[in-house]
Amino acid sequence: MTYDLKPSPQPSGGEAPSSESRRGFLKLAALTGAVVSTTGRRALATGDIGFFAKDLSDEKLIDMYRTILQIRWHERTQADQMLSNPDYRGYNHFYAGQEAVATGVCAALRNDGPFDQIDVVYSSHRPSGHAIAKGVDIPKMVAEMDFRATGMNGGYGAEMHISDPSVGFIGADGMIGPAPVIASGSAFAFRARGSDQVAVVFAGDGNYAAPHFHSTLNNAKLLDLPLIYVCENNLYHQYAHYSYSCPHKDIAEAAGAYGIETEIVDGQDVVQVYNAAKEAVDRARAGGGPTFIEAKTYRYYNHWGAPGAKAGELGAFGYDPLAITSFRPEREVRAWMQRDPVDIARKILVDWGVVDETRAAEIDEEVKAEIAEAFEWGLSQPLCAPEDGLKHVFAEGTVPARQFG
């Protein structure tokens, strides 16, 4: 699965790569059994083989494993709430199945420190995984998704609009299209003020068809912006297969046409994602411009909510009444679940001697308990006061009620 792209012009100055030879991550493919294609990427001038995960401490690797599990247990616990608790009102566009993408990318970012120094993340319409990986307070996110007054955004936004700038999580977007362009604006500001911060946008395969996709990549390349576009290609936008809206098998092919460095990774393998993200972050910080990472991945649930799922079981295999155009075959879902990001991460950590199976299982239990506590706290928080809906329209004051004439 390789093809030729014209090499992009060399960025001048900085620590930009200067070799044009191409190198595939065959070692990595052998390790995970994944098929990896590298597209038009240049080898690193430093002679680095690009396997940046070699430098990760055991502690960091365990953190990443923990993050994957946090996302997974958040999704499962919330799905169970939706399916079995009639009082639960929250919902999600579930991220389960894609955990390695958010985790691998955010592990390469600066997530702690003053706001004007940390990297920023723009999320998509499937935001809970990105939020957790960037470091939001999980109990507060749980409370927000159930419209609680003490939630992350005071109950104003809920799932489609979660945001916590203090950790650089600019937030979810209920719309498909605008986020990448806006993220390029943050990258533009970083470049203008001489900061080494980077802006990351996560967007699905559905974003390809929007004009915003093309505007983002064009301007990011024209201005050499420190932008990392992470395209999570989970094969389906809303209820349609991506072949309805994109003529490319690899969406990275389209990004390559804008002269942008591209990388296609196995989105189920957190190490591959991390390696690609680290290279992209290093390039962006050094003034080398944008990178487009296409992570091949899959969601275990349908577009929205938990139709077709059963409480206590991972994944949705049943009929989603909204999926008239392209119904996801059960065998396709099950085939992707054979390459589960949680399993892959655990196997790698055990294989590398970072943890043994016993410790890995303990971590799983710890995280499950942590998420259960987060739900217990979140769902016991107070509901919003109706009149507060008139606040936060402008920085100060409230707007008048108009619904009573």
Binding site: F147, Y208, A209, A210, P211, R402, G405
Partner: protein, 322 residues
């Protein structure tokens, strides 16, 4: 004649027009042009007319809106169904191209085009971006584009026939909250005019004017007010641009009291225009408007359901006027 759902009524009209005109096209994303109704054949435009004429595309409302305009300019009737999350992305091409095209070509441009634009706002919990029911205010401001909003399955079908047959470009607002309504709707094609309001109840004490998804709350309130002894006249605007001034003025001349109800934001809600036309033409009118406050709809159901205009608020405002 049968009891029909809203979507079935609309697609029956589209199906008929597409059968009559083999050049007519339909573009959609997310919402397949499929509807079923008890004891009636399933309508599926995609399978009936094929994917050359009925296109399922990406999340690209700009293309959808522009492509039907281009199809219309090339002589093909064309319609597109824009779901709510993209409801204002087509604004630019409708406002600054379609709306001005006939005028700037000295009348040469022909645009047999319909943009079906979904309005939501009925579901507590969806929050700001999926509750964009303020589109009526935006689209009705555009000269050169007819903007209509049916509130019954009968009107939905009749206005769809009229919209497709109209030589003018039409923004056909689709109040998704009314999707569950059913009504006796004729099987044959018929037209409901694109420039006439409907008087839903006749009365002499108070005129209440609303449209689209505001209508159920108004009718509920009017029923209670009638039981209380108030004589209420209820007008369903149906046409936002061009607005049926005559029906409004005739009613208000009789009642001298006008209450407008919108789910759109207070500032520049359709009711603001209704009030302006009424007081311009009738002396001594007492007016009030009920609308969503000038705040984005919050996700919290507690906040949202309090802010959304409902029958209780309408009744209170009516009693204060009469």
């Amino acid at each position: 004649m049968a009891q029909k759902s809203w979507m079935y009524s609309v697609l029956e009209a589209v199906q008929y027009e597409m059968q009559q005109d083999p050049a007519m096209t339909w573009i959609f994303e997310l919402t397949p042009p499929v509807a079923s109704n008890p004891n009636m054949p399933v309508i599926n435009l995609e399978t009936e007319f094929g994917r050359k004429r009925v296109v399922n595309t990406g999340i690209d409302e700009n293309w959808m809106a522009s492509a039907v305009l281009g199809a219309g300019l090339a002589g093909s009737k064309s319609a597109t169904y824009i779901p709510y999350q993209g409801a204002l992305i087509p604004f630019q091409v409708i406002q600054n191209v379609a709306g001005k095209l006939r005028h700037k070509t000295g009348g040469l441009a022909e645009m047999p085009v319909v943009w079906i634009i979904e309005m939501t706002g009925q579901t507590p919990g969806f929050g700001q971006q999926h509750s964009c029911y303020e589109e009526d205010s935006y689209y009705m401001h555009i000269p050169g584009v007819r903007t209509v909003v049916p509130s019954t399955p009968y009107d939905a079908k009749g206005m769809m026939h009229a919209a497709i047959r109209s030589p003018d470009p039409v923004v056909y607002l689709y109040p998704a909250g009314l999707r569950t309504l059913t009504q006796e709707v004729p099987d044959d094609a018929f037209e409901v005019p694109l420039d006439k309001a409907a008087v839903r109840m006749e009365g002499s004490d108070l005129t209440i004017v609303s449209s689209g998804a505001g209508m159920p709350g108004v009718l509920e309130a009017a029923e209670t007010l009638t039981e209380e002894g108030m004589s209420v006249e209820v007008i369903d605007l149906r046409a936002l641009n061009a607005m049926d001034t005559e029906t409004i003025v005739n009613s208000v001349a009789k009642t001298k009291r006008l209450l407008t109800v919108d789910q759109s934001y207070y500032t520049l809600c359709p009711g603001a225009e209704v009030i302006a036309r009424a007081v311009e033409n009738v002396d001594g009118v007492k007016v009030k408007r009920v609308a969503f406050p000038d705040a984005p709809p919050p996700a919290s159901p507690e906040m949202f359901t309090w802010m959304r205009p409902n029958a209780e608020g309408i009744k209170g405002a009516a009693r204060a006027l009469v």
